[in-house]
Symmetry: C3
């Protein structure tokens, strides 16, 4: 389980760095600026989780994560100058990164003996904070909170499902795969069919 | 004192979650997005204080705070869909939340043996960071820094008054109530009479 | 070395508080609001570094930093009301603050036995995060990431040069001065000759 989580985590870091660089590009950032936004997107969620849980920050302990984020960011930057990428292409890796990070974050918090509600929120934090940081650094309203995206909703549902399954005795690996599939499916369905939660509406405005 | 601080803290959390959800609503966020902004508004200030002081984060240790923030956020979201709320109504709970959080934050920092200037800034941090986070997440210039609001000023005056009173031997509960009243009064007066501090002015621009 | 770093650090704090207050002024903030943005600009980078490395936050341990940031912020606020300052004047202290903070941040991380890549990023963090915070609080796209500024690039080059020199056995003080000069020179050259790194360009947009 742990070795799997490690490799899956590296993939998620690379995927998130890619989405960060792509978004930074729209704001006329230069090479290092875009790569920095990519690194913040890739490592931000797990960093906040580790600070909140008072763990050692994962990429300070193991430089590999930082290296992967930097390399993925650099490669994206130069690849995009050569290859035309359809704008919607990055939505799939983005959904994948959300699913991976959410499950890893929940799992880490559970192993740290955080209470269940906190653990589920740590999963959501790990999953979405990178994207929130990216949008703040690019001066946008964070995408993850906007209606019709089901971003935070998908992450939270998956995190709660993981915790419920482990409580019921489902094995670690199986429950992790199922929960990941739930996040991914919800997010993809939201994109495909434009699903929405109730939006905020103030009758008096 | 401690039991009182605890209950007062829960009320402040609920009140701040309410203001966060109300503000998030103006940005077309969906249910979970608005609730997340509410939770960040409610817990953000105390979280930053605990990270800076190297304490355990209060809502990770005690899930009750998180539960209260979530429930208050959910209830606000649905209540607002049914009841028309005058827009200025939330300014009173907002001022109350500022006063409560500022005094609690200062008190916590003093008990943690932070030096007095740091303790006063921890009070301000606990009081205003939630609102700053809310405004950043909603992509606004933070309200608390704008002229004519006396936001940070009210918080800082109250925090310094609390420290001065305790230094002079006034009992914990009495000094806390007086300091809270000072913050609340300054903030309400600023709203009522549009009090302002000197604004920044560059003669050459 | 340590005593020198200490005094140089205080100067860097004052300089960064000055730039924060100047920028906050453009957003119609009042006295306390502008000073708070100045304090965040001055202490933000080192604070994030200390949180990430799990050190005690430097200005909580030693109040002097906080006092210097507050006083520098206040003095800037009132000085600017009397004296006309040419807008480009603050770019020189800003570049100086970047150089000082980057080298101090890298040095602190190395003494904390962070691995080299992490240490270099801690230098960049200490150098630029204050300015990023300032721009986020003022609701701008962070200047440091924009093209043609070489901000993060100058910081990173200097941090890596410091690490390389110390690895090769150059003494602490000499390597620190040389690395500081590198950051300062790169930043000043970038401003003077409008040097740029490759900008992001998507062929399909």
């Amino acid at each position: 389980m742990d070795a799997l989580l490690y490799w899956v985590g590296l993939v998620a870091v690379a995927v998130n760095a890619l989405t960060g660089v792509l978004d930074a590009g729209r704001k006329q950032m230069d090479l290092i600026g875009a790569v920095m936004v990519g690194v913040a997107t890739a490592l931000g969620g797990g960093t906040i989780r580790d600070l909140l849980l008072d763990r050692n920050v994962f990429w300070v302990v193991d430089q590999t994560y930082l290296l992967v984020a930097l390399l993925a960011g650099l490669m994206t930057f130069f690849a995009v100058r050569k290859l035309p990428l359809p704008p919607r292409l990055f939505l799939i890796p983005d959904a994948l990164g959300l699913a991976l990070f959410t499950i890893i974050g929940t799992q880490v918090a559970l192993q740290w003996h955080a209470p269940w509600l906190v653990a589920s929120l740590m999963g959501v934090t790990t999953g979405i904070v990178g994207g929130v940081l990216r949008d703040i650094l690019c001066n946008d309203v964070p995408l993850v909170f906007l209606k019709g995206e089901l971003y935070a909703t998908a992450a939270w549902t998956g995190a709660l499902a993981l915790i419920a399954m482990q409580e019921m005795g489902v094995s670690g690996i199986i429950s992790a795969w199922i929960a990941m599939a739930i996040v991914l499916l919800l997010r993809l369905l939201a994109m495909r069919y434009n699903l929405t939660l109730p939006t905020f509406r103030q009758p008096n405005t």
